[in-house]
Symmetry: C2
Subunit: 235 residues, 2 copies
């Protein structure tokens, strides 16, 4: 069985694997990412793992400290707010550029999606979370603006990280009713209202989910303030 190994670049596969693992929180924020063990696990050399790290670092999913290796990014609360703010700006643009220009077929697709969300919401599984996220990706995708889609995806990924750290256990983040309202505004072609709805929707997500500070991950950072308050001198 000459299993054709990989028709396409394995570097890409590594990148995607790590990306998914981080987003799905199999790799938790702050977790150390040694090149060797990861490469071994994925069946590739450090070279490819390293390449993937570089790209993930640009996207803000991985932190890269010189000579100290990579770890899953652990955004500060401040960075978290930054991400949500940018995301709001981006998605408002999504809403505006979609309003009125959305096709009936697209509306139908969105409504089907929301319907799924409602069903998943009852059982309150992890499905609910995934679906809420996908709704926003779907919207971004419908704009036909590839860059906008990329940025929304990126922001969305980072939000996963952020919610893993600062989010309350599993309050499903998006209110389905808000999704429905948004669809209505888009179909009606009311750009201003759609943008406002999106804006409020995302603000609501922040206040609903993002309030509880959790543990810190790097011992140094945790202890630095204590050291100072005790007059100790961090080397």
């Amino acid at each position: 069985m000459g299993e054709k190994r990989t028709p396409v670049l394995r570097a890409e596969s590594v990148y995607r694997a790590l990306r998914r693992a981080i987003i799905e929180q199999a790799l938790k924020p702050g977790m150390k990412l040694p090149e060797d063990s990861i490469g071994e696990q994925l069946g590739v050399s450090r070279t490819l793992v390293r390449e993937a790290f570089g790209r993930l670092a640009v996207e803000g999913l991985v932190e890269l400290k010189p000579n100290r290796g990579a770890s899953v990014a652990y955004p500060t609360l401040e960075e978290a707010r930054d991400v949500f703010e940018v995301r709001r700006g981006l998605e408002r643009l999504v809403a505006e550029s979609l309003a009125g220009r959305i096709t009936p077929a697209q509306v139908a697709e969105l409504e089907a999606h929301v319907h799924q969300e409602e069903k998943a919401h009852e059982q309150d599984g992890p499905e609910s979370i995934r679906l809420s996220g996908e709704f926003h990706i779907k919207l971004a995708n419908m704009t036909g603006n590839a860059l906008l889609l990329r940025y929304v995806q990126e922001a969305s990924s980072r939000c996963s990280l952020i919610l893993a750290i600062y989010g309350r256990p599993h309050s499903s983040e998006c209110a389905v009713s808000e999704h429905r309202q948004l669809i209505d505004a888009l179909r009606a072609g009311d750009a201003a209202r759609a943008a406002d709805l999106m804006d409020h929707h995302l603000r609501a997500v922040v206040t609903r989910a993002l309030l509880t500070p959790r543990v810190e991950r790097d011992i140094r950072d945790v202890l630095a303030p204590y050291a100072l308050s005790e007059g100790l001198t961090p080397s």
Copy 2:
């Protein structure tokens, strides 16, 4: 003179060098980027060049085709519009979050900057272009939102590429007067007006600078229409 060899990672230096070279159009859009000649030129191995390519690809400054290497990105006209649209959304956010919260010191800095722009505008050197760009970066920086800054920088870089391809020779892209108005609105704390000014300003940049389709870079794309019109069949 024990010249300390590498103060910081050389990979980073390679990345920055290439980035600058692309933005300053020393490396022109579409130009092929062979790993070994570039590595040789910069005094590093292909490994580092390759790593830099990966990161630049994420940022959209280089295109990476499997087994065919890297080249400086050559955005299509459609991608160009996408970039400008996203940039508008981002910078509107900049304007909004800065309005009213901007400090007198920051206003002073911006005014000094605009003054420089005016002086440079008279002599109409390449300085003029650089300064216009920096004005927007400065604004983004003042928001204190690191992610927003990163995205604006990225969008800005890509705009350089785009103007290199589709821009008219050297119409300085930004009208200085528009910058002044914007500063006024920011100081007055009129968020809506600031956002609108920014929006119009960037729309104006597009219509001023971005109209002339130029040459295509990939021979295939250039010739495809000719082939069709002659009844030839592109393999």
